[in-house]
């Protein structure tokens, strides 16, 4: 194990990034004897987990809960964090910023939470991150994707208390465009949810694709409000523009509806090419969508997530996926994996620093390399974003698995497609590198 960590450190150094430390997040953690010899810091380490538990997107809280609860159970089974038990308190954000801020305040000021993790939507995360300096606690975001959090709040305004373990909209816009550039399609159109996430993804997508493929056109846009039950008007107006590629960041319950109706109305057939569909759906490989749609999602569509259970093919990830499946009977969702990692990160952070002091934690986290089920991550100092890559893949129906799997992975090292400070240049950076062989 030690060698593995050393190898990772070497690997990261080769990338030109000097990490302050390396921690392993997952059930391969530090040896137990070493951990228990240290002094107990607190009776109970309390982690507040805020997510959406009610309403149409209530699934997303449930998916995150599976990850963080599993991690807490594993940690408590081997004696907790230096002898103190981990307790996770779940709170419903209702996707409302003011409600989430209230819950965060209560967690910290009344229920004694030491860390805050979770948080689903961009409006909520911006609101919560803003009060963290006042509360002086760490916020580890495991789902919300808005790049405003890291680029504006952390980098430009210097809010040091927010960190993010999930991939931001770079995956939904930039990486989607890099994948799109490999496809023959030239007339791209979008069907997006009508809110900030949709706009941000589409803007990033257009910028990157234009840079890589000056020959493409953007022929149509469709903005469907959240909770649309009938996508037919949007699909038919997009069909009218005769696109041969579709970019969509629909997610959750809207995605189910959209895929089913798009299939009926022939939107998939319109974007067919010889090896599949020019259909880019960055959040398509979300476990809830795959479990609901199963074989209905056509083979050959390009989808991704903020973590894929098949990737990376490491021992750590395999163990996590198996443990998750054993505990819950489901494969892990991306937000579950990031929540799992967040809890382990907190454990190692405390063990590494031997303190609950937030300032020390922030200093340690900056430039920290993490080896987790999600892959090697580096928390960038400037914007507190964990840098790791998630590839796109094509859907394949495989009878051996309960849900469709992905094949033909297309990926790129994260540092090439994550926007870099000062966030003015459009990725991908330094030429156009060959794809990683996965």
């Amino acid at each position: 194990m030690r060698e593995a960590i050393e190898a990772r450190r070497e690997f990261l150094k080769k990338l030109g990034i000097v990490g302050a430390g390396v921690v392993v997040c997952g059930s391969l953690g530090l040896p137990k004897a070493q951990a228990s010899s240290r002094k107990r810091l607190k009776d109970k380490i309390k982690i507040g987990h805020i997510a959406i538990f009610s309403g149409p997107f209530g699934t997303y809280g449930e998916l995150q809960k599976r990850g963080s609860m599993l991690a807490a159970e594993e940690i408590n089974k081997v004696g907790g964090i230096q002898g103190s038990k981990v307790e996770i308190i779940y709170k419903d954000s209702r996707a409302k910023p003011a409600e989430a801020v209230k819950q965060v305040r209560r967690l910290v000021e009344s229920e004694g939470a030491d860390f805050i993790i979770g948080i689903d939507s961009s409006g909520v995360v911006l609101g919560v991150a803003q009060v963290m300096p006042e509360l002086k606690k760490l916020l580890i975001v495991t789902h919300a994707a808005t790049h405003k959090l890291t680029e504006e709040l952390v980098y430009k305004k210097g809010n040091k208390y927010a960190f993010r373990l999930s991939v931001p909209t770079y995956q939904d816009g930039t990486m989607a465009a890099i994948t799109a550039a490999q496809l023959p399609a030239k007339r791209w159109a979008c069907v997006h949810p009508d809110y900030e996430y949709g706009y941000a993804s589409w803007e990033l997508f257009k910028a990157t694709l234009k840079k890589l493929r000056p020959d493409v056109q953007f022929v149509g846009e469709s903005w469907a409000k959240i909770g649309t039950t009938d996508f037919k008007p949007f699909i038919s107006s997009i069909l009218d523009k005769k696109p041969d590629g579709i970019h969509t960041v629909e997610w959750g319950v809207d995605l189910f509806t959209f895929v089913r109706q798009a299939k009926e109305m022939g939107l998939f057939d319109a974007v067919r090419y010889k090896d599949g569909y020019a259909w880019i759906n960055p959040m398509g490989y979300s476990i809830d969508a795959m479990e609901a749609l199963k074989k209905e999602y056509p083979e050959g569509c390009w989808v991704s997530g903020r973590y894929l259970w098949q990737y990376p093919p490491t021992e750590l990830n395999e163990k996590f996926v198996k443990a998750h499946y054993r505990r819950w009977g489901h494969l892990p969702a991306y937000s579950g994996a990031t929540s799992y990692t967040a809890v382990y990160l907190i454990k190692h952070l405390i063990e590494l620093t031997q303190t609950l002091d937030v300032e020390t934690h922030i200093k340690t986290l900056e430039n920290l390399a993490i080896y987790s089920p999600i892959g090697e991550m580096l928390i960038r100092k400037e914007d507190h974003q964990a840098i790791y890559d998630v590839p796109f893949g094509q859907i394949k129906h495989d009878p051996k698995f309960p849900i469709p799997v992905l094949k033909n992975f297309l990926g790129m090292p994260a540092y090439m497609y994550f926007r870099r400070p000062p966030f003015t240049e459009t990725p991908p950076y330094t030429g156009y590198p060959p794809f990683m062989s996965l």
């Binding site: 009610s54 209530g58 039950t229 949007f234 479990e291």
Partner: protein, 283 residues
Amino acid sequence: MEAIFFQILVGLSTAMLYWVVSVGLTFIFGVTRVLNFAHGSFYMLGAFFALALFKWTNSFVLSIALGSLAVGVVGLLCERGVIRFTYSLPVAFQLVLTFGLVLIFEDLVRFIWGSVPQMIRPLGLGVVTIAGRRFPIYSFVIMGTGLFLWIILYFLLLETKLGLMIRATISDIELAMANGINPHLLYAFSFFFGSFLAGLGGALTLPMCSASLGMGERIIIYSFIITVMGGLGNIKGAFMSSLIIGISESLCAFFMPSLTIAISYVILALVLVVKPEGIYGEA
């Protein structure tokens, strides 16, 4: 031109779904003068009941019929159990009471079915080609149901004794009571029938999308808009305003895709400023 025609056709199927749900609300308001905020919850219940029945019976027609009838019974129980005690209070109290019911139903559904949205397998009715586009046959089923409902209501209200009683109650309750109509029976029936329609609407959406939490909150606003726009309690008005909202939304998705989110409110505000009692006036 063909595209616009297709867009209108698509809007028509949306409109018919809105009509099925909102006529239930209109009917309840017309008879009992209660603005039932829990109508959206009944819509959601319809979807979930049909989902459960479909898994059990594997027959879509049966699950729609039984599912929406079951929702009708739930509506009846709500009326007899809770709502009837508030008839003497101002309309706002019933709004708050039914808002409480919405909260209760949301969590009951979450408790029973979990928070993961669920789908049934596609019915596989296929598509027809109209104006060079594929149009799902299932949308014709929805349109057919809507039109059938229109005819049934017309018949029910104009040709039957029950319809006479309902119309009498809608126009003047005191006079109706003086003529020996038992309003409580009628109130109970209207809640049964109105909730049945909400459940029918919910069950009908099932092959198109999923049964999910919070789906009631989205439809209730449309139902309110349609009910108010057509004239409170006016069934003909509800039909017309369903068409207006459905088709204008569909056209808006074609011409100004980013404004679809607000178009129905624009129309409602315009109609109300010009004609506060709605298109056809209050029943």
